[in-house]
Structure formats: structure tokens, C-alpha cells
Amino acid sequence: MIIDKATLQVLANHCAAAAESMGYTLMRTAYSTFVKETEDFSCQLMNSRGATVASPMTMGATWYTGLDYGPVIRMFDDYREGDVYGTNDPYSGHVATHSPDMHLWAPVFHGGELVCFVGNHIHNTDVGGAVPASLSRTLTEVHQEGIRIPPTLLVRDGVMNEEMVRTLELNVRVPEQNRGDLNAQFACLKVGERKVHDIIERFGVEAFKAGLDQLLDYAEEQARSLVATIPDGDYEFADYADEDAANGYPARINLTVKVRGDTLLFDFTGTDPQLVSSLNMPTGGNPRHSLITVGLVYVLYTLDPTIILNSGTVRMLDAILPSGTVVNCEFPAAVGMRSLLSNVLQAVIVGAFTRALPDKLPASPGNGLSLVNVRTTTRGGRTIMASIGPVGGGAGGGPYEDGAEGSGANMSFLKNTPVEISESEIPIRIHKYGLVPDSGGAGLHRGGSALLMEFQLFAPQSMVTARNRDRSMISAWGVEGGQPGAQSTFTRNPYGPAPEELRNADIVPLQPGDTLRLIGPGAGGYGPAHERPIEKVVEDVRCGFVSVAKARAGYGVALNGDGSVDEAETAKLRKAMAASATTDHFSHGSGRVAFESVWTKARYALLTRILREVPVTWRFFVKHELFRVLEGRTAGRDGGTGELLAAYGDLAARFEDLPPASAFADGAVVPVAAE
């Protein structure tokens, strides 16, 4: 070991400094407002094989602390000093995760030797394609999602690959933004390179190179020692997105976390087939793909916030990512809105770990946080587009405290847009913005409340987009007796004669004078609500987080007209609640309970077996046909596999590309082996 344990933190700090400097440079020089506002970017200091050693911890997207550029780095073998490479293609090496993300990397040389790489990415506002901003869940193939640049040499000997940049500019809607942001990315890489030289000067090149690997090893050791504290076992959990396409059926992610000593295996068998919409996650089957590891990083960091985060953190992880499913889609599946299912995936991972560590981790966050954008016209006829902020739910109730209100957990990085700014910039009237009483799941520690925003537009041909809307049917789950959060709602003209429920719509055209009301999903509660200290319930009522009715029904606290506690009644109510308390680890909302009465575990296992054998291009169709046929057909005690097999039989009889039902007719439903 070249760097000892008394000095390792010094190197870690210097690497962090390099990453932070890169991040600040990128944010400062970025051209598009989108980058500055949403901080949807990342920067990496990598070792010579492309494993991320350091990334900024206080800014940027939270998903890329362990990003591995190895697959794209290995596509080239003549790296030279000053080179810069880039790609935004989610299917070339599986580093970029959708086309707006432009990833760049550059080798750093010392004395003629390649010692490491630096990299970064920016989410471009638009990269062309079928829709402005290049993202819509209605898109069905990656080709509709804008220009894709395969891993390409962009700069050599100080000369930019102008042809490539012109091609990019020709294909996008606001070329000066892409060009400006690309320049910021170059500036960021330059700073990274300079900082690396500073570190080498400080520590020596051999110590630096070895030190990077030691930092990876250190992060690995830290993570392994955390995993070792988790009881060995198999922890299964599934969660759903409400819709797998516009007005579709739920999309399921099923995970079994297998803890063995200091190693983890994520088995995603039972996860839904890839979709004919853009919610798919292009992981390429890489078990340590950034989209797969986000949730794990959240869990580990929550368990110990002093650990360092880099590629080493997730080395103990292996994963089974069945090909042709939403967690490992095959080309040319559209992937633009992978964030929606990625959010579900994060909740699934947290959920599975709560089974192992119920006293350390929280209930489900609200998730389904939608990014609301408005397009309308001013009185002068100018078209104006603006983000009026995210509307979602809070963080799940935790083992020690209530969840954060209005946002939090895996949605912590977003900022809102001030009402005063929206009303100054756009002809809009925001009528309400705030927290929703009773929306957080009841519990010993209450789930965070949902956000509400209600607004009105006045010009014809106005349009509202609300990306990532979810959980209008399937609520955020509670744990350890904590109750699920309230569902989200989306209503047009809620006070008019005919309120219209828009559920998970993500594009809504509005008539002049129309009012929209968005309510995010409440987060799940933690622990039995009847054990919540009475004074905390009273305080929640006084503060308006909980209504008098909910205090009674959800917490067993009866209040008199003057706000004082009816002690006798409360004792009675709480006794009854304790007697009928659930012993299940998870508590789910009515939407999920109803759905799972049709789609039982047994049926889902059979469905998974069938879909595995169906050609990839058929899977989405078959799933939808079977869902349609079984709609409302509650399963009997046997789990209802018979009806499903029959329905499939009818389908297979119609299409000879499908394997016959007899292939699945072996009666007993056996667990599906991994691929």
C-alpha cells in the first residue's frame, strides 16, 4: 500500500476538491438555464479504467456516484493528451441513460503515461426528435428521441470535430444551447485535468495511481462492512408504476435482494417486460449500472453518512437483470422517460432493504414527483414556456422521525419556482400552493405530506406538461404498521360543474380560464399510528398536518371541540387499533390491494414465465392482452393461474409466433430461475 491510512483521507479530500471544482466550473459556465436550475449534470474523476473515484457531493444529479465509463473508454485504444470523447447514445456502452444526456470523457496524461480519466455529463434541454425537449412517454423507439452520437472523438490536438458538432446542431431545436453547454463541459474537463496534475505534484504519480485504486477499495470496504451488518437472507419486494404507457396498465418491478455475508445479489426476475413507451431502463445487463445502483447508494449512505461514494461502493453487488425487461431493455426500446421507472426502482430497493433493516430505513417516499411545465401565450402574442416547479410528495416516515414535507428522500435535489416569479413571467394565476393535510401515511412517524398546486391559465392553445406523474392508483407504502400515503390526483376545473380526473396524464391542453389542480402522492408512514405520542398527534392537528377526523380514524386520538384530548375515548380507540393492528411488514393502499387481488403472486409468476418465452417484440402486446382479459377477475384461493393460462391459450391460438399454452401447463407454479 503506497498511501497509508493516516493519509488516505488527505488524498480523498484532494480528489473531492477536483470533483467539486469541476462541478462548480460546469455549473458556472453552463449556457442553458436548465442546467443551472435543475443541476441535472454530473462530473467524475476516474481511474485509468473508467471507474468513478470522486464526484461532487453538494451539487448535480445524485445518480452517478458510481458511474463506470469503462465500456465506452474501451472502445478506443489510441488515447492522446488533449483528446475529448463523447456520446449520448444509451445503447453504445450503456453509459448515457437517455439521449439528452451528453457524456464526455478525457484522458489525463503525466509524463506521457495515461494516468486517469475525467468525465462529465449535461442534460441538454433538447436533442431533437419527435417532441420538444426530446422526452415523452408516448415515444416508442429510441430513434424518436433525438439525434444519437455514438462514442466519438470530439477534440484532438486542440481541434474540435466540427463536422460532428455541426451535425448535432443541425438536428436540435436550440443549437446555441447545445454548443454553449458543450463548451462548459470542455471547460470542466480542463479544470479536472489541471487538478489531477496538482494532485500528482502533491503525492507523486505512482502514489496517485495507486491511491485512486485504494480509494475505490476503501469505499468497497466501507460498503462491505455495512452490508455485513445486514442479516443474511432473501428479501423480496415489488412495486409498480401506475401506467406502463399512456392509459396503460401497471408496470411492475420485482426484486429479491439476497444478502450473503458482505455481498449482495439483486435478482430482478419477475419484473415486467420492456414497454412500447419510453419508460425503459437501458442498463445493458450491467449489474452495477448507475440506474440500478442509485437506490442502493441511498440505502448505504442513509445507514452511514460518513462513507465515501464511488464505484467501489457498489462492487459487492451482483445483479440478475433479465434481458427484454424494463430493467434491461433491448434496442430499439425508447428510454427517454426512464426516470419514472427509475424512481419506482429506487422505492423497490429501499422497500426490500426495509425488510432486512426495519429499524434503520424509512417507508416509501411519495415518489411520482412531476415536473410541471406551462406553455402559453402572453397578451402580446408571444409564446412562453416555463417550469412552474415540481409537485410531488414528501419523504417516508423514518425510524427516528417523521418524513420531510413536500419533497425529500430520493427527490431531495429539486428546487421549486417561486409563485411570484411564475406569476411575473407567465400569464398565470396560482391559486394555491402548499401541503395537503392528511396526505402523509399515518404512523408512529408520519409520512411527509404531499404538495398541492392549483393554477389557472388564460390564453387559448395553452398546454401543461407534467412529466413523471404517478401514484394516482398505487400509493406509497408504509412499513412496520405505518399506513400508506394518499394517492396523487390531477384534476381539471375541480370547482366547475364537471371536474375531470386526469390521473397520470402528462400532457394536458387547456382552454382559456381552465384551472388545474395537481396533488402529489403522500409518503408512507413508519410504525403503528396508535403508538404515536398523543401530544404529537395534537400538535399535527394544531399545525394542520392532520385533521380532527383523521386524528380519530388514523391515530385513535379523539379531540374535543376545544382541541383538548378526550382521554377515555382515545384510550378506547387506541386499544381497539392495537387489537386489530397488522403484523404485515408493508401496508399498501386500496389501489394496490385491488390490483393484487387480480394480479396475485401466482398469476404474476406464471405471467413472468410466459413472457420470458415470448419474443421480445411480442411481450408488451401479450402483457396488455392478458391484462385486458383478466381485468376485474379477482383470483380465487388457488391464485387464479387457471384463468390466466386459459386467457393465454386463447391468445396463443390466434398467433402462431407465440409458444403454445401447453408449454406452461405444468400446474404447479415453480419459482422462475434466473436467466
Partner: protein
């Protein structure tokens, strides 16, 4: 002729700087702070000045004062129980803040609890729009009812913050009048009067913090005035403000929000003055105390200003000297993690119990203990004999960690120093990138009790060319107050699209701001000397979510030269972000005017330079840069202007120790500053 006194009341110590107008000498004094009895330390100090330096209280003609009482009230959450009146249906403005959660990677992270709990937030019907039109009149009956409810719920004050009140405060004033009628004597604060900026959270939290600290600050200032009167000081005390200026104590009682960062701003003003005096164009001040390590950027003797400075859990959005925290100071605790890796911070031993070597009950090794264990610090008492250094206690504390990582005590101590320096390096590095500043262009100006001890190490990492240690680094904050000018900011939020129509609005706005500014200086501050007016505007490209402050030329405003005004913004944008878009539409959000009334500055005497080697007092053994060495120890009081010597060396003085590693050369300049340069021959 008389004495000018600057005082800085910190968490542990209160520093006094006294300038003798006749002799042109600067003296300093340190006493323990008395948080239990604010004002007592001032009396003690004034008496001390009389005893030690023969400064008669009645000859103190000028008295300025920087205080942390505002910050501490927020940090300790010991302010007023407030009610907040907001526009109906927007009750969660404090609860939600700007939505972002502090620790993005932890599933359990939460925003800090607001200073006003939700049950004390009252939604009031009445609505103004962005164009200042009234969509719904204020519901006066609702205000009255809310006022009664607030009082019944124990409110000790009310903050009013209605949507778009930055445009027009009429509805807020209307509500204020009703509350004052319902609850006479209850303090009421309007957001439009506190600081009328657009963005409801930022304006509201600023008004809330102002109201929250008001009674404590005002009470404190009252007792200070009384205390000074009692000991016979004729000067009416003045206060340093967050913006680096000063104002009268009387005004401070009304405008607490202006002096919350009084203490930190003073230090930077002191540093700026030293930088200007030495002709240093660009520098970074480094102020390290027992519990904080702060840096600020200074260019041409002017500190960088910003809005959104951090106060405890919150930010406050008034123009302030921009100071950034880069660590927890000399009290940061070192520890060994479960994999045997040595770490430092973020836990701090604070001022109580403090480092182990203070012998006040601390047992865990801190950065200060590490310096003591290496032998670099501890050769004299700290803080004017207020703290006796116990070397053995430091070695024992560091020794516990040494056993865990299997290194010698000295090696471990040095590793602790390296880790803490690298942590500060990391913070500085990010900060400088954020502002696009190259550290190699900067000097590092060190002060505070622990600044000079660590500065050379940090400068070495950042590749800064020079470290400057002023003659009395411990009292630079106190000195800052002596130097600060009368200064006030005036703003109006306009939210204009910049075009020909904007010119008359801008002209009229600035005329009104100028009138208010002149009245502040002459009528409120009783000042008749020369003044300076600084015009600027916060502008942005349409669609951007942040503004940049661009300096404007007064003549260009007067003559209505629109192009010049817009170009000022393009240039500011280019400077900060490296690019500008001269075709893009520009918005002017806020017009700003700063008025400065210059106060008389103490002139520091120059000593004639007599080049030659400095004479060390003795040699000491210390562990530095990997090995045990014999280092010369210099007494600061013995060093004369023009003398020089090379590192490694230690310089001790009453209020701090300066550590100079090998490779640095030290020269004493004409003002008595240590100028420590890397690499240059002595």
C-alpha cells in the same frame, strides 16, 4: 484628539482594538465574553484599557462594535415567538422553503424546522398580483381575527408577508395597522419594509429572521449603551452591519436584520483594510477561531458582497459581505473510523469543553491539540494569558488515536493537521471555482486565533503565492469596526423588460432611492461629510432564474443611455460565466443604490525598513513535514520592519502563533505585517 475603540464580541473572547489618534498607535486587548451578562465584557474591557494602556474612558470619542448576538439568537433558536401572516392558501412558504433538502444522499434528511411553527402561520384572504393590481381586497375582519388568535396562542410578535408585496406594501401596512390596534405594543414587521425583494420565501425568511432577533438585539444594544454611559464613555456606540458598513446603535435597534452578520463582516472589513494598506490587489481572508473557519474574497480592498449568506440553518437575503465557511475551526475533533482510516470533523469540541490542551474537560484530540502535540504551538499561553496550554493533555488525546493507527504521537498529530488542511483545501477549491478565481493570483490574509497557525499549510496546498499575518491577527475583527464606513443599501424591485420604456422608470426610481439615501445619511446618521453613491441593478436574461448585479454609470442613467446599461449587464455576465448573449432580451429585476459616508480612518504608522536578519528568541523541538526538527522561535514583539528570516520557524505573540514550514521566507513589512512568501529567497 482622543481614542477610537473597536470591539468584537465573539463566542469565547471579546477583542478590543484601540487607536490612539494622537500617537497613531494601535493596541489590543482580549477578555472573556460574558454571554450570561452581555455588556459586562465591554465594561471589563474599558476598565482593562484604562489599567493596561492608560486610556481614560472619557477620552473614547468613537466606539464601534461588531457582535454575534444576532447570529447566536438564530443558531440557538432563542428569539421571539412569532406569528406569520401570509396570503391565504400559501401557508407553507417557510415549511417548504425552496424545496431542496440539505443532504441529497440521505433518505432521512429534512429541511431545518422553520422559526415559525405552522400553527402560528395565518392565511389571510386578500390578493395582489404581479402587476401590483389588487385582485382581492384585504379581508380586514380576517386580519383582526387572526391577530386575536395569534395573541391568544402566545405570539410575541407578528411578521406580515403577502404575495407580491415587493411591488406595493399597502396591504401589508393595512394589516399592520389593524394588528397594532388589536394588540397595542406587539411588534409587527412587514416584509415590504424589511427588504422588498421578489421571491416569497427569500423575502419572508429575511423578515422572519429580522423579527425573530429584534427584541434580543435591541435589548442588548440598550444595555450596551447604558454600560458605556455608566463607565463614562461619551461616544454613542455604532454597530458594524452585515454589509460591512456601520450605523448607530439606535438604528440597529430598529433594523436588526441589517446587523445579523455584524461580527463576521467586521473581520473581513479589517482584512480588506490591511490588504489595501499593503497594496495587495487580490486576496482571500482566512479567519479561523475555535469553532469556525471562514474565508472571504477581497479585491482592491473591497470584499466581495453577496446575498443569501448563511445564518445557522437559514440563509438571509440582504446584501452582506460574502463569507464562506470552510470548516469547523481549531476545535474540530479527530477520530479513526472502523476501517482504521484517520478522519477530522465535522464534530467539534467547540469553545466548551474545547481542545484537550485547554484543560477544561476536553479529552478528544482536536486540530489545536495536534498542533500542540507536534510542538509547533504551545510555547506561550494563548489569548493574552487567558488560556494555559497543557501539552501533556494534548499528547494523551492524540496518543489515543496514535495507538489505533499504529503511528507515533507526532506522526499522528501531523496526519491530523494534513487531513484538516486538505479538508479546507477542498472547500476553498470548490469555492474559488464557483467564482472563477485562480488561487495562484491570491494572497492569503490570516487572522483569528488559529488562522496564522494553519495559513501557510493551506497556502501551500492552494499554491497561493503569499501569506500575510497582520500585527494583531486576533483583533482584526475589532479593528474592522474602526475602519468601516457609514453605509446603507436601498433597493426597489421593478421587474422590467429592458427597453426604451424602462428608462424613465429607472430614472425616477433612482431619483427616489437617492433622496432616501441622502436622508438616511444626513438625518438618521447625522453625517455631513463627503459621500459616495453606487448605482447598480440586478439583471438577467429572460428565462434565467437568477440575477447578476451589474454596476451602472450614474451619468448613463441620467442621460438615459439604454445601451450602456444593458452592456453593463452583458459584461458582468461574461465576467462571471464566460459568455454573454447580446441578442437575448434582458430583464431588470431590482434597482440598487448604496450610499457610503466615509469615516475617518486611523492611519497606521510606518516604520523605516531596516533590512537584516531577525533575531530568534530560542530554539524549540517540533515535528514538521515528516520529521523532528529544531526550529527557531521568534517573538513577534522583537521583530522589526525590514527584517527577514526563513522557514521552518515559529512566531509567537500574545494572541496567536504563526507556523512557517520550510520553503517559505518571512519579511516584516513597514506596517509590521509578516509577509510570508513561498520559494523566494530571503
Amino acid at each position: 484628539m482622543g481614542y477610537r475603540v473597536g470591539v468584537d464580541i465573539g463566542g469565547s473572547f471579546t477583542d478590543f482594538a484601540v487607536f490612539d489618534e494622537q500617537a497613531k498607535t494601535l493596541r489590543s486587548l482580549k477578555v472573556f465574553s460574558r454571554p450570561d451578562q452581555p455588556g459586562a465584557e465591554v465594561i471589563e474591557g474599558v476598565k482593562g484599557l484604562a489599567e493596561r494602556y492608560n486610556v481614560p474612558p472619557e477620552e473614547i470619542v468613537y466606539f464601534t462594535h461588531g457582535t454575534t448576538v444576532g447570529v447566536n439568537t438564530v443558531v440557538q433558536r432563542k428569539g421571539l415567538k412569532l406569528a406569520l401572516f401570509v396570503t391565504e392558501h400559501f401557508r407553507d412558504v417557510l415549511e417548504l422553503a425552496r424545496l431542496k433538502i440539505p443532504n441529497m444522499y440521505s433518505l432521512l434528511s429534512k429541511r431545518p424546522a422553520p422559526l415559525v411553527t405552522r400553527d402560528m402561520v395565518f392565511g389571510i384572504p386578500g390578493r395582489m398580483l404581479a402587476d401590483a393590481s389588487v385582485a382581492e381586497p384585504l379581508d380586514e375582519i380576517a386580519v383582526e381575527a387572526a391577530a386575536r388568535d395569534a395573541v391568544a396562542a402566545g405570539a410575541e410578535g407578528v411578521v406580515i408577508s403577502f404575495l407580491h408585496a415587493y411591488r406595493d406594501g399597502t396591504q401589508e401596512r393595512q394589516a399592520k395597522a389593524i394588528i397594532e390596534r388589536v394588540a397595542p405594543g406587539l411588534p409587527v414587521f412587514c416584509s415590504s419594509e424589511t427588504w422588498p425583494i421578489v421571491r416569497e420565501y427569500e423575502r419572508t425568511v429575511t423578515a422572519v429572521i429580522g423579527g425573530y432577533v429584534q427584541p434580543r438585539v435591541s435589548h442588548y444594544l440598550g444595555s450596551l449603551q447604558q454600560a458605556l454611559k455608566d463607565v463614562g464613555v461619551p461616544a454613542d456606540p455604532r454597530l458594524t452591519k452585515s454589509n460591512g458598513g456601520i450605523m448607530t446603535a439606535e438604528q440597529g435597534k430598529q433594523q436588526c436584520v441589517q446587523m445579523i452578520l455584524s461580527g463576521t463582516a467586521s473581520g473581513v472589513i479589517g482584512a480588506s483594510y490591511v490588504a489595501e494598506m499593503c497594496g495587495i490587489e487580490r486576496c482571500m481572508s482566512l479567519d479561523i477561531g475555535g469553532t469556525t473557519a471562514d474565508v472571504a474574497l477581497i479585491k482592491d480592498g473591497t470584499p466581495q458582497y453577496g446575498i443569501g449568506e448563511r445564518i445557522g440553518d437559514f440563509q438571509i437575503f440582504i446584501p452582506s459581505v460574502s463569507v464562506s465557511s470552510i470548516g469547523e475551526g481549531g476545535g474540530s475533533i479527530a477520530w479513526v473510523d472502523r476501517l482504521g482510516v484517520l478522519k477530522v470533523g465535522p464534530e467539534s469540541a467547540g469553545s466548551r469543553p474545547g481542545p484537550a490542551c485547554y484543560g477544561r474537560g476536553g479529552t478528544r484530540a482536536t486540530i489545536t491539540d495536534a498542533f500542540v502535540a507536534t510542538g509547533l504551538v504551545g510555547h506561550s499561553d494563548l489569548g493574552y494569558n487567558a488560556v494555559h496550554v497543557d501539552v501533556e493533555k494534548a499528547r494523551t488525546a492524540v496518543g489515543e488515536l496514535a495507538a489505533k493507527i499504529d503511528r507515533s504521537v507526532e506522526e499522528t498529530a501531523e496526519a491530523i493537521i494534513n487531513i484538516s488542511i486538505s479538508g479546507m483545501y477542498s472547500e476553498c477549491s470548490g469555492l474559488l471555482s464557483r467564482f472563477g478565481v485562480d488561487p495562484r493570483d491570491l494572497s492569503l490574509l490570516a487572522f483569528g486565533g488559529a488562522g496564522p497557525m494553519m495559513a501557510c499549510f493551506l497556502a501551500r496546498e492552494l499554491k497561493m503565492g503569499e501569506v500575510v499575518v497582520p500585527p494583531t491577527p486576533g483583533v482584526l475583527s475589532a479593528l474592522g469596526g474602526l475602519i468601516a464606513d457609514l453605509k446603507n443599501d436601498f433597493i426597489r424591485t421593478l421587474y422590467l423588460d429592458v427597453g426604451p420604456d424602462a428608462v424613465p422608470v429607472l430614472q425616477q426610481t433612482f431619483a427616489e432611492l437617492r433622496k432616501a439615501a441622502l436622508s438616511w445619511l444626513k438625518d438618521d446618521q447625522g453625517y455631513g461629510g463627503p459621500h459616495e453613491l453606487i448605482y447598480s441593478a440586478e439583471m438577467r436574461y429572460r428565462g434565467q432564474s437568477f440575477e447578476l448585479d451589474a454596476s451602472l454609470d450614474a451619468a448613463a442613467i441620467e442621460e438615459g443611455r439604454l445601451d450602456a446599461l444593458v452592456e453593463a449587464f452583458h459584461l458582468a455576465h461574461e465576467r462571471m460565466y464566460g459568455h454573454a448573449d447580446r441578442d437575448a432580451p434582458v430583464q431588470l429585476i431590482t434597482a440598487r443604490l448604496v450610499i457610503v459616508g466615509k469615516t475617518e480612518k486611523p492611519e497606521f504608522p510606518k516604520s523605516e525598513l531596516r533590512p537584516g536578519p531577525a533575531k530568534s528568541d530560542r530554539s524549540v523541538e517540533a515535528f514538521l513535514d515528516g520529521g523532528k526538527r529544531t526550529l527557531p522561535l521568534y517573538r513577534r514583539a522583537d521583530l522589526l520592519a525590514g527584517q527577514s528570516f526563513s522557514g521552518p520557524a515559529i512566531i509567537t505573540q500574545d494572541d496567536c502563533t504563526t507556523v512557517v514550514p520550510g520553503g517559505f521566507n518571512v519579511t516584516v513589512d513597514t506596517f509590521g505585517n509578516l509577509r510570508i512568501v513561498l520559494g523566494a529567497a530571503a
